[in-house]
Symmetry: C2
């Protein structure tokens, strides 16, 4: 779960996402619209009797705040919180397992704020069905072949790996950048990302206001996507002044055509960009 | 506004209640489901540029907590909060203006918790239309006649007030009791209330669990309404274990027939009990 504004638990329920499936919570910064749903979510997980720990990645100041707050509000969680403090000025890998690697990197906002880059781990190669039969591949060799080994036949011959396997789909990645003002280095931090979520609080004409408040304009978000070589750009976090966010999408598309305004409750599949 | 759980600002918007119309916020106790929407609501009021102060009635410990929290989350409100601490063991009038008198009184829960009794101020008498013409009542006498004065005619005669006026509708009242376990004295504290809202977390068979957790059963809520001589009872705060709350309503009605389970988003008019 990335950020947890007020009402997140209701939205999760509406989207039929099981609360118990959330094991890692990433908090970009300590402004209310990114965190005021966290206490409620943690309380509900506890009411549901959760036992396994939750990994919480957040700006370092939050560890003490959370502790005081849980005590102030008489909350006794049924599970542990494993707090991973964010503080570095450089990108840091905060989570790496067989599925995903997550890097946190600093953004440029009014208070310490972090972006997150999620890179899917490379999957193993797939063995061609016909090769299994043709070479009578024994079960105990499957694992090493999937990792790229060649096959040695009983007669001493060697079959090169790429004859008996085909490559897995390209790993996908997702970057979340909110809240932040524009800075040139950001595109390098998310270089080659599949899908970039970037805030676009203001329209292109409001660059001064954007800098003043630590936010970005639509065309700045698009410039980051373009310079990073992203495949798709999702923009959101629009100022309430824009009744019609179509104008922001249009501005962004003039810089990066594959831009989409996020729609509340919609499902975007980063492994299937046709869902955008 | 009485209590402010997570998502309150969204619910208010859904109900088309103007956020700016809220001047008094009453917080019963410092458990998350009664307060986690407050930070978001205050932040939004500030974003909307509110200038006039908000009166906040809450258990005394909350004053310090709120101050720290606003600072932790970098919230700079555009308006003042006038904090009225609740701490007394006896009923205390915390607000009294020309419309309403509000009394706070202690409930019996796991942490300091307060109920609230809202009593509409008696309205002025209404002058009969035909009397206005018949006695040529001068404008400057209207105010005192509405307050009950007799009318002195130019010829020295006196017309008694009840000949030229009729009484206003009976003032109504509303009491909010959540969360609390059952205690006998509660019905005296809300004696004669028009509409009682009382929690009914558990069904009648769970009295032990109710006491242990500081909550009430459906029939206990009904007993309070009956002993107070209330006109209607609203029950709510049901444990999630009850998929069908009809059973709780049925149990309560066997003690106090005019019981209704609250329905989210429904509008109940305490001046028009036909809306129940």
């Amino acid at each position: 779960l990335i950020d947890c504004g007020e009402g997140t638990q209701m939205q999760l329920r509406k989207a039929r996402i099981r609360l118990s499936s959330i094991n890692n919570i990433f908090i970009s910064h300590l402004h209310g619209d990114h965190i005021f749903g966290l206490y409620g979510l943690l309380s509900t997980l506890s009411l549901l009797g959760r036992k396994s720990p939750v990994n919480l990645y957040a700006p370092e100041a939050f560890e003490a705040i959370l502790k005081v707050h849980l005590s102030d509000f008489d909350i006794h969680l049924s599970f542990e919180i494993n707090f991973i403090p964010l503080r570095s000025k450089d990108p840091v890998t905060v989570l790496s397992d067989k599925h995903v690697t997550v890097t946190a990197f600093p953004l440029k906002h009014r208070i310490p704020t972090f972006g997150f880059l999620f890179r899917e781990a490379p999957r193993e190669r797939n063995i061609r069905k016909e090769a299994l039969a043709m070479y009578q591949i024994p079960v105990h060799k499957i694992l090493s072949i999937k990792k790229g080994s060649d096959l040695e036949l009983p007669n001493g011959e060697t079959v090169p790996n790429d004859l008996i396997t085909f490559p897995p789909p390209e790993p996908v990645s997702y970057a979340y950048c909110s809240d932040t003002q524009y800075f040139k280095k950001l595109s390098a931090l998310v270089k080659g990302v599949t899908v970039l979520y970037h805030e676009a609080t203001f329209s292109a004409g409001e660059k001064e206001l954007a800098v003043k408040t630590g936010h970005s304009t639509s065309d700045q978000a698009a410039a980051v996507a373009r310079d990073a070589g992203a495949k798709k750009l999702l923009i959101g976090h629009f100022s309430a002044r824009y009744k019609d966010t179509g104008i922001l999408e249009k501005e962004a598309r003039s810089v990066f055509p594959e831009t989409y305004c996020v729609t509340e409750g919609r499902y975007y599949d980063i492994s299937n960009l046709d869902t955008f």
